[in-house]
Symmetry: D2
Subunit: 340 residues, 4 copies
């Protein structure tokens, strides 16, 4: 049975796509790359060549290729919608890097297409759901040892941002992870978002509101606060403390070798999300490939609905950021097809 | 010189007053109790007797007593004002348990009286300023290694509340410590307060908004958030993470013996603030007595102005809590007499 | 290229073998099980069946099978020698669970056979070399930031032992990991071993010397001490602190979610080595399969020589244990074929 | 009652003596310095002057002074014996810095003198018994939650040594603390000592065996190992892990603000024992003064017997160090007068 490997088509051969190609080639069982698409054909062929796959400049060719069993989308969010709709039409399992699409309206169209198709096909790449620590936190909350969750305190820090990074992208690219994490941990939807900012760091680019304090209310009544600081200067940190009625649990404390030497004691800080969440990405891909083999999606993974709900929360977040007031999340009623 | 011990009058012989009597008797050098006042004369005499002092039911008798060199006020906040004004008039050094007085208006009268007297006499009992970890955090911020501070994330948890504890008291009795801590650490005033609450814990008394998320803006542009949770069920926790432009520092992580046994690894949690801040109280009293010997107040301690500023922030906090909106802090301009 | 999967023959379908079968099927890329051997044919067929492989009762059939590209040996150590010699003769890459063989003499015969064959074929399953934390510790020592290593303090604890576990097995099955870890971290051979024991725990089976304190001297001059405690009752712990001339580094501190609740703060303890070192096993297997594809062994993995050196140290350890005195390790001179 | 302060005579005005003078003046209640003796009269007068005491060059004058209620001995160990004997004869409470005397024979004479006097007068300055963490560790062992103790793993590191520090002093001055700590925590005597050393650190002075691994056996059957490393270069560290039949407990993990900044996360390391054990010294002195007021010694403190037993263990330690073999501790039978 395992002899038939899942033949994967990869759309997008940038940094993320290339990482995923390596992941499929070296760390995942039961799957291999068959074709890689990128508008930059050289890049497509380079990534493809390292994996014994073929390269193409046409993304839709991947979806139309009859030798492709499943698709990984790692191209920019702006081109996701038509690809997702085509894959759904062909009944192909998809692992789509976040965001599902850039806005809630287009995400909803994908939701409706999948619902109409009547089969769960799309998984969104919120990899924290596959991180061992976050998974243990979810387990702790689910078994109820901490009592009902009342608050989440989140910290999300990056060393620095690439040129052109905007305050809005801090919501769409960064806080979107906390939106999904909170929805998943709490099992509830986000209802409203507020954004506050202290004076910006002198280490952040001119004009960027950095850091920000994002708070959001959820349908369960739990409140979430997020420090997002994308030019903290010292590394990548993701921390989440759940406060329950009877106890609290924190993930994201620093690990690794504990060193003592002149200057003090301590350890190193992750450079970036690839370093911190490498194992989570591996697990995400393995479980996706395993599920795709069986013609289903992983129930723990983020669904199309989750991608849509995250997009809706981001829209409210950006609105809250620009107006300085609380913004409500506008979300369609959840269809039965998507159980939480 | 040390042969002349500072003769201290203690007003209030309740739990806090009795603790302070013990502190002066056993752990502080250069001071001794001369007289103890409490409306409950038995209680006054019991505490006084254990220290070789005399007891009285009349608080003002302590201040009028010519054998008293300095006064500790540990009675309820509602009776502080006239005692403070009398002590200032007599030129007596005072260590006044928080709050200075119950509201900003009366606190301001004490400020004005002290300013008129032209001599710093009153020290307010914000003991965290004398905690070794908080002091080290302040030092880190002051030397500038972390860059300018942008945010403080605070957590303040109590196991449970006594009967009759109200949502307003969570601001006046609990968050007041974070108001002072933030002002002290940041060297800036609080300008506005916002209060948000998730659904309340089922472990908290009916009607109490518990926990709450209090955020406040400061004149330095730094933003502060505080989780106040007074029925968390498991113990006493005070944590503060300062986020600077170039680094962060956290105090209040758990210490003590690290135990491994069946069920897991870990340690114990402080029972209450006396346990957690016992050393800080000792240091606060010792430094107050040392300064009083020299006819001055400790520059690190909270001044009358600090007590007034905390009262003003509390008023804004309670207003923000009841209206659900941001409330600005109404603070007189700081006179030169009180340098930050 | 990756299309040709490495066809793996597995010898031994007990708990460890079944784990490795699952590993190859689900978490490793580029390899698949072709045949599984176990004297218990039902067990062999059950494990084989779950992986689309065939089962057999004859271990040597695996090695003689022309469709097998590489072999995993997970059978008892007592039967390893002839299997290893046969695999070497056929030029097959082997991943052999520790021990290489049960004693230094037979291990040396395997060393000599491989040396005579002139090709590195055998890798011994010391999985700590693939653990992220231990690898980082090795990197720290190799770059020299801590100065030359002077001591290692090791702790190795198991919750409990299966029936029949003996004091000698504490050396052969448990401390053997520290022998390999020390040789690898320090890049030097073990020269002498001493074993001391306090009174045994009442929680350990009658007659078992448990815990023990094993110290050993290395050719680099560094000294290693190991607490081995196989009935500690509370879980599985592996800790190692390297003490260098200019600093120290500790791996194996407890991680996972940090929980606060009634009773204290803390986290969970690993149940067993599969839990603690699961990722290390995955990495070990992936790198072995990758190297086998290229007809070589992984340079970081334990070689036949390392297996032999560990066996020699174990013999000295058991001798030291029985005599109560220091026992020297009797090791052949290392041939050039096996660079450290 | 508190009005009568304990009038303390201090012998020795070096670094340690001056520290203790400051301690008595500023942080201890109910005691004051009356006279300070030091062969260097200037130094004596300087320390005395800062405390309103008188200075003298004659140590015995302190003991003969009828205005002295109790004596602190902080002079070199070589001159302790006659001072202790004189104080015992006069019935004066003594707090004697370790060592009691430089060797077991002279220590035994002090034991016999005190026993003959029939009154506990002497307390030896093993301050760890007053450290909050060590006290909690003792409590954990005493209540039995961890089961009977089987092993102690100790680490004792100093940044560097003063000129002239010898391998023997590593036992007499440093490991002597672990001898007392182990006796106190385990409630049992030390029976034999073994000393092993790796090659010495290039950061240690020529000729010094540094670090060393000292192991000792106790009458309870528990085994203790100590890493003593007095030129570790990075700071002062004292760590102790107790391994019980059902659990373990570790004290001495690093605390203080947890900082994240460029270069990593971590905290600072104590500079020296004054920094790490300052609070313990304060508590030791306060309890000694309180007990002296009542004409007794503190039952938690180290007694004359404890000083003698430590000296005997040191002698065995130095013998083990020089011979490279196990050395038995030669200890008189404990008289009833000194209950453990």
């Amino acid at each position: 049975m395992q002899e038939q490997q899942l033949r994967v088509g990869l759309i997008g051969a940038g940094r993320m796509g290339a990482d995923h190609a390596l992941r499929i080639r070296e760390r995942i069982s039961g799957a291999r790359l068959a074709v890689v698409a990128d508008p930059d054909l050289d890049r497509a062929q380079q990534v493809a060549g390292s994996c014994g796959a073929r390269g193409t400049a046409e993304a839709h060719e991947v979806i139309d290729d009859s030798t492709v069993d499943a698709v990984v989308i790692a191209s920019p969010g702006s081109v996701h919608e038509p690809l997702l709709l085509a894959a759904i039409e062909r009944g192909l399992p998809v692992l789509c890097e976040k965001p599902l699409t850039p806005d809630a309206k287009s995400s909803l169209r994908v939701v409706e297409a999948e619902e109409a198709r009547g089969k769960h096909l799309v998984q969104v790449g919120f990899m924290r759901r596959f991180d061992a620590e976050f998974a243990e936190l979810k387990r702790l909350l689910d078994v109820g040892d901490l009592g009902a969750p009342l608050m989440l305190h989140c910290v999300h820090r990056n060393a620095s941002t690439p040129p052109g990074f905007t305050s809005e992208m801090m919501i769409y690219d960064s806080v979107v992870h906390e939106f999904d994490t909170a929805r998943w941990l709490l099992g509830s939807e986000i209802e409203a978002v507020t954004v506050r900012a202290p004076r910006s760091s002198s280490g952040s680019p001119e004009g960027l509101l950095d850091p920000q304090l994002v708070t959001f209310e959820t349908s369960s009544g739990a409140l979430v606060d997020v420090e997002i600081f994308v030019n903290c200067g010292f590394g990548y940190q993701v921390r989440c403390e759940a406060v329950g009625e009877r106890g609290t649990a924190l993930v994201g404390a620093d690990g690794g070798p504990l060193v003592h030497r002149s200057g003090g004691w301590g350890g190193t800080i992750s450079d970036d999300f690839r370093d911190r969440f490498g194992d989570a990405f591996d697990r995400e891909f393995q479980r996706w490939a395993d599920a795709a083999h069986q013609g289903r999606t992983d129930p723990n993974a983020a669904s199309t609905w989750d991608g849509y709900a995250a997009a809706a929360a981001c829209e409210a977040g950006v609105q809250a950021q620009s107006t300085g007031t609380r913004a409500e999340v506008d979300l369609r009623e959840r269809p039965d097809f998507y159980a939480l």
